[in-house]
Each structure stands twice: as structure tokens, then as C-alpha cells.
């Protein structure tokens, strides 16, 4: 009997050996003859250079000059580090950085808490989940201008719905945008409302990565919910939580549209952020040199934040 079988087995083995040999060979040859990436990344890099990198170099150059974009015929005057020194010693600028910082801290922490709450509610399947999830996701799909303008209607002392809720208790119209504190709170509320769903999405994606067998093991061991959360679930979502924190921090740092449409920096300059300050300097006062210098300072801040973000992503990849 066995002769046939033996030969087939041998034959089979032979073939598989051969295949193994080829595949090893091919992967070696593959990596040696692998094409250079240059031509593939060149078109994208060209577009990025033209629209991002070159203008950035221009703005570094201009930041050393006194230059107005509305008077192109007046030659720029060299100031050296003048613009930067001017900015660093300007108490108003520090106020804008503080405003921005306070808004980021409040808004991002609310987004994390609300986003986590929403993720907790929505991570299980239930009938109609797709539809209910859409209700929550809509704010981040709206244009910021629509959100900003509508929130400014909500905050209107006469016609606004916020005032309508407060009036029965105080007997007077309430102007949320009237004082620096309440104006900041109003902005934070709009920003947090819009972007908490984004944090929820990140956390939902993170929860998808929690393996069911670990949760079951924790249940078999009768671990308490609290303990189960910290030992099984939290380690799995720590990465996305960090991503959410950093991504939202950077995006809030860049916040412009909502401020522009809701408070326009007021009352006074109390809700002016770095972005709106750059806008005013560049497109209202047309002080291009100074605006570029302020822009470069904010780019520096963002590079530092991105560096941290990048680290977090890499740590996540290594952990996975």
C-alpha cells in the first residue's frame, strides 16, 4: 500500500519545500529590488511644498520686516527680531494666549467627559442604534458657521432660548455674551457640544479593540465593575484617550470660526484667541510682518504639541 502514499507525501513535501524556497527567495529579492519611494511621494510633496511649506518660509522671512500687504509698493523695512520682541513684551498677546489656554482647558476637559459618557452609552448594540447615533453625530457634521451663528441666536438676551429659560427665575433678560466669564463659558459650551461626539467616536473605536475574552475572564473572576474597568478596559482605550486629548487640544488652539461668529472676540477683547488676533492683525490692520511673527510663534506651539501626539501614536502602535 504505502508506496503510493509515501510518494505523494514526498511529492507534496517536495512541492511545499520548493514553494518555501521560492517565497524566501522572492522576499529577499523583493526587498533588494524594491523600488525607491521617491517618485511616489514626489507629487504629494510638491503640492504640500507649494501650498504649505513655501508660504511658511515666506512668512518666516516676512516676520523679520515691517511689511503691509495692502501697501505692496512701500518697500518692507527690516526689523530683525523686532516683531517677535514686540509680541513677547505685549501684555495683550499674553492675554490672548491665556484666553486661548483657558478655553482649551475647559472645552477639551468637557469634551473628554461628555465624549466618554456618550461612548459608555453607545458602545453596546441596540435596535435603532444607527439612528440614535446620527442624532449625536450631527453637531460635528454641521458647518461651524451655522453652529456659531445659531448659538449666537440662542444667546440673544431678547429672543434667545437661554434667556427664555433663565428669565422665569431671575425676572430679567439674561445676556450670556455680556460678561467676559459668561461669554467664555458660552463659547466653550458651543465648542464642546460640537466636538464631544468626535471624542466619542475615538473612544468607540478604542472600545472595539477590547477583547471579549478578557472581559469574560474578569467576569468569571467576579472582578468588580470598577476593577474590571481599570484592569481590562482602561489599558485598551488609554491610547485613543491620549489621541483625543491631543487632537482636540490642537484643534481648539486653532479655533476661529466659532469665536468669529459668536462673540467676535468680545466683550472687549476677553474672548480673543490667538487665531482671531492673527486674523485681525493680518486682515484688519494689514500688519503682515507682525501677523506672520505671531503665526510662527503659534506654529512653534503646535509643533511641540504634535511632537507629543506623534509620540503617543508610536507608543500605541508598539503596544498593539
Amino acid at each position: 500500500m504505502p508506496a503510493d502514499e509515501v510518494s505523494t507525501v514526498r511529492g507534496g513535501r517536495g512541492v511545499s519545500n520548493e514553494m518555501a524556497a521560492t517565497s524566501v527567495n522572492s522576499s529577499e529579492r523583493g526587498s533588494a529590488s524594491l523600488a525607491r519611494a521617491g517618485p511616489f511621494i514626489a507629487p504629494a510633496l510638491a503640492a504640500l511644498c507649494a501650498i504649505n511649506a513655501l508660504p511658511f518660509l515666506w512668512s518666516i522671512g516676512v516676520s523679520f520686516f515691517h511689511f503691509r500687504a495692502d501697501r505692496m509698493n512701500t518697500p518692507p523695512r527690516f526689523l530683525g527680531l523686532g516683531n517677535y520682541l514686540d509680541l513677547i513684551t505685549d501684555p495683550d498677546i499674553w492675554e490672548h494666549f491665556t484666553n486661548t489656554g483657558v478655553m482649551i482647558a475647559c472645552s477639551v476637559s468637557i469634551q473628554l467627559v461628555v465624549g466618554a459618557g456618550l461612548a459608555f452609552l453607545f458602545h453596546r448594540r441596540f435596535p435603532g442604534r444607527r439612528w440614535v447615533l446620527m442624532l449625536v453625530l450631527t453637531p460635528m457634521l454641521l458647518s461651524t458657521v451655522a453652529v456659531g451663528t445659531f448659538f449666537s441666536l440662542f444667546y440673544d438676551p431678547t429672543f434667545g432660548i437661554v434667556s427664555a429659560f433663565v428669565r422665569p427665575f431671575t425676572g430679567a433678560a439674561f445676556a450670556p455674551l455680556g460678561t467676559p466669564f459668561s461669554a467664555t463659558a458660552s463659547l466653550v459650551a458651543a465648542d464642546a457640544w460640537m466636538w464631544s461626539p468626535f471624542v466619542m467616536l475615538l473612544l468607540l473605536a478604542g472600545l472595539e479593540g477590547v477583547p471579549a475574552y478578557l472581559v469574560e475572564a474578569a467576569e468569571v473572576d467576579r472582578a468588580s465593575n470598577w476593577r474590571r474597568f481599570w484592569t481590562v478596559i482602561f489599558p485598551a482605550i488609554r491610547g485613543v484617550l491620549l489621541l483625543a486629548l491631543l487632537f482636540r487640544t490642537i484643534e481648539s488652539f486653532n479655533m476661529f470660526d466659532l469665536i468669529y461668529t459668536i462673540t467676535n472676540g468680545g466683550p472687549g477683547t476677553s474672548t480673543e484667541s490667538v487665531s482671531t488676533e492673527i486674523y485681525d492683525t493680518a486682515f484688519v490692520l494689514f500688519e503682515s510682518g507682525r501677523a506672520s511673527a505671531l503665526g510662527n510663534i503659534s506654529v512653534f506651539v503646535v509643533i511641540v504639541l504634535t511632537r507629543v501626539y506623534f509620540r503617543a501614536i508610536r507608543l500605541r502602535k508598539e503596544a498593539a
Binding site: L34, S143, V145, F198, V240
Partner: protein, 291 residues
Amino acid sequence: MEEVESFPTRRPAGLGRTLVAALVGLVYFFPVVWMILAAFKTRADALATPPKLFFTPTLEHFWASFHRLSADGARVLDTGLERNFANSIGISLTSVGLALILGAIAAYGFARLRLAGRDYYMFYILVLRMVPPITAIVPLYFLFRVTGLGGSYAAIVLVYTAFNLPFAIWMLKSFMDELHLPIEEAARLDGSSEMKILWRICLPQMRAGIAATAIIAFVFTWNDFLFSLLLTSVDTRTVPVAMTRVVGADVGVDWGVFAAIGTIYLLPVLLIAFFLQDQLTRGATFGTVPR
């Protein structure tokens, strides 16, 4: 990679959680409902104190978004909003399409081919996406004035393409990293060019990833305000900027018209998001969370 069943898909939610989730969803959605209702209210109803929840709906604002009466009331004129809508659609689709094509090719280079300093490139590409848009606009505004491209379709499409590219590269690379390599290696052995492998083997396998990238990039471009505000002209203006013109009208804010435009403008993204909901989840993470 072995398929590990993940914990949320396992368990259905209890009745209590379902009800709370539905309730929270409705409360969260309330401001949007308020906007949509305002689109159907007459001016008197919209500004009533206390605010009205029940009223006789009207479609006049939808009509008024696109038409207006001439000063003597005799002729019906165009508000030019059709043009803004056409601009929004055209500019968004073109720039997202371009970003996807350039992004896919670059992502393939980063994911598969030989490149020194790959991480270095990837980091600075990410930085470009994070830079405050207003900072980038100051020099761009000047650049476009000097080159005479200011206010043209080419300028704004190029800007949106470049701002979607970093995201497209990161996302698409992360999806490519997850593909199984043996098929590609076999094709390479058969002498297929790298381009052919990308188009014929890689991309067809990652349709969901492309959809995820496209939807996030589309929502960003569709809703962007700042670039459009400063880099478009009357002819190339998109809807978000046109919306603010309604607010600035001399008769005061026409809330009904504003709400009507906002509602129409929301519809397309809402539909896309509904059908590509799972992709939206993936896209929010920049593709950094493996599936």
C-alpha cells in the same frame, strides 16, 4: 492577524441603557432641531418670546434663500446661492478626489517602498495638517495676489487638496499597513510594476478605508469657512461664507433664511454620514486604531 471578538459587539444593551441613550440623543440633537424648525417658522414665530415650539410651517425661507424681489417689488431676482452650492459641491469633490489620488500614491510609497527617514517625513506631514489655518492663510493670501491666482477655482482647490493630503496619506498608509503582503509579492515576482500593484491589488482591497478617508476629508472641506472667506472671490465663494452674508444683511439677521440654508447644506453630509457611519468611526482616529 487572528480575529478576536471584541467586547462591545458581543453584548446587546439592556432596555434601560437603550432608553437613556435615545433620550440623551434627543437632548443632544435639540439645537439642530431648533435650527431646522427655525427654517420653517415665519419671522414673527422665530423671534417670539417665549420661543414657540408649535407653529404653522412655511416654506417661504427656502424660496427666499434662492430668490429675492427687486427694490420695486416687480421682478424676482436671483440671490446667487445656486452658484455657491455648485461651488461647494465642485470644489469639495475635486479637492477630495485629488487628495485621495495623490495621497494613495504617496501612502504606497511610504508603506511599501524604500525610503530613508520615513518617520521624519510622516511627522512633518502631520505638522502641516496641525498648523493653525489662519497662519497658513496669511502668506497664501499674499502668494495668490502676487501670482494672480487669487479668487480662482485653481487656488482654492489646490489649497483644500494640500490641506487634506496629510490626513489622506496618514489614513491610507494605515490601511495599507494592514493588508496581506503575499499577493503583492507574487505580483511583484510576476513583473508587475509598483503602480499596477497599487491600483490593481492594493486599492481594491481597501474600499472601506478609502471611504473613511473620503468622508472625513469631505466634511472638513464642505464645512470650512476660513480658507473660503479669505481666498475665494464672489464667483468662487462657497456656501459657509455666503451664509454669513445673510447674517450681515442690512435688515438685520434673517434667521429663517439662514436656517433654511443651513438645513439644506447639512443634508448631503448627513446622508453620507448615515450610510458610511462605521467608516466615520475609523476616520476619526486618523487610522491609528487597528481594526
